[in-house]
Subunit: 182 residues, 2 copies
Amino acid sequence: MARESKTKYILLGMLAIKNCSGYDIKQMIDVNVGYFWQESNGQIYPTLKKLEECKLIERIEEDRDSTREKKIYTITLEGKRIFQNWVEEDEYILSIRNEFLLKLTFGTNLTVRKNIERLKKYKRGVSEKKTILESMKSRLGLEEQTDQHIYWYIQLDSGILMSQAMSEWCDLSISRLEKLGG
Amino acid sequence: MARESKTKYILLGMLAIKNCSGYDIKQMIDVNVGYFWQESNGQIYPTLKKLEECKLIERIEEDRDSTREKKIYTITLEGKRIFQNWVEEDEYILSIRNEFLLKLTFGTNLTVRKNIERLKKYKRGVSEKKTILESMKSRLGLEEQTDQHIYWYIQLDSGILMSQAMSEWCDLSISRLEKLGG
DNA sequence: CCAGGCATGTAATCTGTTACATGATTTA
DNA sequence: TAAATCATGTAACAGATTACATGCCTGG
């Protein structure tokens, strides 16, 4: 049966914030919530099509500026209803697959030195992401404080705090392994 | 093409630690690495079958105690080789889908009070998991310190630190929302 | 005796990724 | 002019979940 896809809800949610194209949505997802939610184009475009067929979203005329082909969508009342129902449900799926942690768990099959290197590299990646999130947060702080903003703020903080914790964990783990004789 | 399934590697990895059954493996995954890796029975059993066909694992006689049907597997040399190759590859997939954070991002569609409630509930869940991980860690500390142990120790710490950070983030977010007038 | 855990497994079905195709426009 | 980015989309294919089936054993 494969559980119900949540893709439609994130698309509706983004369109509830503002009218945009599939490409815009993909950007917004990658940039803003990419650290806890991913969608591929292979999901986005077909889902947009289906949503339009079901009249949960509609195409509008992109009034301006595009010589480029760009399909701008807007959410319908029915779309908002469906979206709202989903937001109100107090249940959440959580799926994670972190292959880095998995390989580290089996770290005994590698030299200590190699594991330390990996942790250092991983930490660099985590720190970069944290920096990006922090700059997004400060940019958000400069803009006007709408109701929407507070939740984006909170959500960004979760990413920042997680990155921070991950980074500290890397240091801790590195020093543990170094004591072992790296 | 759908990316290569990693299921076989975690099964091989568990069998590299000790001989066990599909049921045992499922338990080990849920309990030990469940917070960053999940597998369902619908993946585990068919994969075990395939691995046996490819001679990467073998059935052994469960010497004792079971009136119950239980198929114990052991990893073969070829299986170890395949597993080792995977561990040595310095590349990792990471996929996360946290529907809680997603709904919170769209929190403006709910009352502030409701979002606070959700955060409190979420925090309880996070704290429970943290407690479990901590008890696992102290249990691990009591057992003999093998080479394997240090990596499980480190891996557990990542879960504990993440839970801790998440928990703090919940508090922070709750107080932010309360200031808004919850 | 019955609920729940132990234990294995399959079928149905959808989900989701990758890789590719296409073409315009911008930038170096 | 070549590479990168904008922009939409599809096909192929495997991945993965859920739900169910089966049956034994244990504890209350």
